[in-house]
Structure formats: C-alpha cells, structure tokens
Symmetry: C2
Subunit: 239 residues, 2 copies
DNA sequence: TCAAAAGTGTTATCATTACACCCATGG
DNA sequence: CCATGGGTGTAATGATAACACTTTTGA
C-alpha cells in the first residue's frame, strides 16, 4: 500500500560506525557485505532505513543488531550526511552513529541484508559503498579528538587492563609515530586518580603487570569538580 | 501533484541556532515569531523543510535568509533531532545547525513565514515552539564546550576588540559566577600569540585600550604545530 | 641466568595562580 | 585632580618532559 504526500520527501536512514580493538591493539571497524543492490557485495557500514515511529537511536541499534547480531552497545550520534547524490537510489539522508566496543565481548554474525560481517583494520579498508568512507573518516576524526579530553577509550578495553595496554590504546587511536614515554604516561594517567587497582596479571613470562579498572564514579566526581574550577578560573583555552 | 512511495517517509527540516553578543556583552539568540500553525505566534528557531535536491547546509542557509534576511553566515552542524512526537504535524526529523555572528554587522528583518524576528537573551527566553528549547540548550552546551578549546569566540566580536571585551565574552559564554582574574586572563591569552595589536581606542574617558584582532593564519599554524606535539607527547587527557 | 616487560626517582623548566600596584585619559 | 577602566611585576606552587635505572617473572 502506497504512501502519498503533497511534496517529495527524502528517505532517512541510519548508519553505525562501530570501533573495536583487537588482541594486538589494532583499531578495527565493523563492516558488512551487502547482500543486495545497489553496491551488492560491496562492504558497507551496518545501517538501514528508519521506521516511521521509531526514534533515530533506536533505529540505529535495531539495524546494527539485525545485520550483525551485536547488541547492548552504547552509541552516540556522529553527524548527518545529506548530499543529494550520496545514494544512487535517490535522496537519502543518513544519520550516522558511532560506538566503541570491546571486540572480544561482542561476537558478531551476519544476518538480514548482510552476506558477511567482519572487522577491518581502519588503515586497511576495502572500497566502501555509498559515501561510507567519508562517514568513517568523520568518525575517526571525532574519535581522535574526543579521546583527548574524555576517557572514552576505556570502552575499547576489557574490564581489567594493564597500563601498557592503555598506553598502546592511546598510541593506536592517536596514531602516534613513535611510542609515548612510558614514565610520563603513567604518571599522568595515575595522577588523575580515575583508575583503581584490581589485581595482577598471572602466567606471563615476565614481571606481571598490575591490573586496573576505570573508576567511573570517581571520574564523574572529578569532572564535576574540575568544571567548578573552570568556572572560577576561566578559560582553558587550548589551541 | 502528489508524490507516492512504497514506504512511509518522514519529512526532513533544518533549524538554525544563531548566537550573537549585544553591546552589553549579553549572549543572545535569534528567534522568529511563527506566522502559521502549528505554534502560530509562538517564537521558534528559524528553519524549514529541505528541498529535494539541495544539500542540508544549503537548506539551513536558505531558510535563515528567507525568514530573517541574514546571510553570509558560517554555520556548523549541531545535532539531528528525530523523536517521533517532536512535531504535531507528523514525523519530522530536523537537522540543527548553529552559528556565531557579530550582532551589529548582521541586521535582520522578518519575512516569509516569520511575522517578527528578534534577538533574545539566552537566559530570558519566551516559550518556544516544538522541541526548540531542547535544540537551543544542546547548542549552548556545545558552544560552552567548544569555546574552551577552540577560538570560536572571536566570531562574536567586532573585527577589532579590546582584551576587556574578550574577557567579558568568555565570562558570558561560560557563565562564570564572578569575573575572571584580569592579570591572568591577559597573560594566558597573549602568551598564546594568536592576537595582533591593531591600534588603540579613541575618545574614551579613561586610559585607551589597545585594540587587537584575531590572527587566523597564526592560529592555524600554531594549531598544526601543537598537533604534532601531541602526537609526540601523547595524550592531553583532560577530565 | 637471561629475555622481556613492568615499574620507579629525580631534576630542570615552564605555566599558573594569587596578589597589589601603576598608567593614561576626559570631564 | 579624580574617577574610570587599562595595563603591569613578581614570587610561590605545581605540572611536565626527559633522562636512566631497578624489579619481577617464566623459560
């Protein structure tokens, strides 16, 4: 049964950029292989059309689960892409979301419009459908900017992690040319006081590292205090 | 002539949050009074429906000019609002944009669907149509966050300004409870090296202030250098 | 006892804070 | 000559960067 309007309307879709870290600390992104035209067999971001009565975020989570099986993900809106020619089927405006997940604890499986699902290293991507490489690069830029002033990186790590893992995470996301100074990295991160010790590595053939977890409550508290400070002291005007 | 689709489609609109600073350094936002239902006579953000073949940003600029006469504005995408019930006419997804302008150099005049146009102080707003107060508060939050790490504030000031004006600007945007320390504000802002002296005040009945303007090129250069540094040094992990 | 990571001490430097004070102008 | 904002000087404090070094484990 057809739907009729006085003026033409664009279609509205959602797309999800899901980042994960693999065992070797490489930054990966979740892609699906399209089962249908257009761009049949091309790799693309998981996504699809928004239903008439569902919120955008719900649509993004639904499509992600339908196509990849991934659920219980914390997503955040990234940007809306609406160039008239971005989709060969006609005007499609796409609201993009992004997420960070611990790769190991979020198994995936292709379903629905997806022929396959796979994690790709962000620096070795296949050609992508539509304007998805642009969406992905916007997401990467956002991730790099955000990781600098919010502790979002912890989402990518397991619950308990070592400082070396954390350091490699930062090196990976920022794409630094050479490793950061270990001593200084540790001093800074520990001095912030948002990590708590939760044990020790076992069975490694070198000195076992202390394990830490992110203390979310403490972080929230400190962030509030720091904000008060800013109001008092004024700007923090960083270039 | 009607348009027919196999599946229902939402309508897509754009809305603009335009901020300005008035003579007394109060932060203002540009609103229109709606000429038609729904929310006839209510105040709202300038905006309207996206044409089928125009980019989103073009639509935002077009609607802004049609309704308020304002043009040559630098806008940036803010967020997309798509709750199913946000518009009584049916499903309308709105892509919001925001802008900072020097109020004095952007005269406005109501036209089209707008009965009136006016600048309102952000802390003394009338009731707004749709979910526009939510959009506005998202824009304010973004503005406050962004002003801390990017020199966007300069857009709000005249080409040449005094350090006192700049300080009041920061105090206004951040909404600080008491004035910032003058000495320290000046040291920090000058030490960044992105301001250039361009003259002196005249005809004021006190010591005339030096006038400065923002050195965009120097800023770009410093920002690049700083980014290199970050890559070398690693995180700047602020709470 | 060796390799491989984990983890620490220390110093020079630089930015930030908190104060109190001087300067130039028009009325 | 004074009211009004504009514009310094400086010492104590704290964070950062750049070093080279010690410790703990399994093989």
């Amino acid at each position: 049964m057809p739907y009729t309007y006085d003026y033409p309307r664009p279609a509205v879709s959602v797309d999800c950029v899901v980042f994960g870290l693999d065992e070797s600390s490489a930054l990966k992104v979740l892609l699906i292989q399209r089962a249908r035209a257009p761009f049949q067999d091309h790799w693309a971001l998981p996504g699809g059309f928004v239903d008439m009565d569902e919120p955008l975020e719900t649509a993004a989570l639904r499509e992600l689960e339908e196509e990849t099986g991934m659920k219980e993900v914390f997503i955040e809106q990234l940007y809306t892409f609406g160039e008239p020619e971005r989709d060969p089927r006609g005007r499609v405006i796409s609201v993009a979301y992004y997420a960070l997940v611990n790769l190991a604890s979020h198994p995936v499986q292709a379903a629905d419009d997806a022929k396959k699902v796979a994690w790709f290293a962000v620096d070795r991507l296949p050609p992508l459908a539509f304007d998805h490489s642009q969406i992905l690069s916007t997401a990467l830029t956002r991730l790099r900017a955000k990781v600098r002033y919010q502790p979002i990186g912890f989402e990518l790590l397991p619950e308990r992690f070592t400082l070396s893992q954390l350091q490699r995470l930062y090196e990976t996301i920022l794409g630094v040319p050479e490793p950061l100074n270990k001593r200084n990295f540790r001093k800074r991160i520990l001095q912030m006081g948002v990590l708590k010790e939760v044990g020790k590595q076992k069975g490694v053939s070198h000195r076992p590292a202390k394990l830490y977890s992110f203390d979310r409550e403490k972080y929230e508290r400190l962030a509030r205090e720091k904000y008060e400070d800013l109001l008092r002291r004024g700007l923090d005007f960083e270039i």
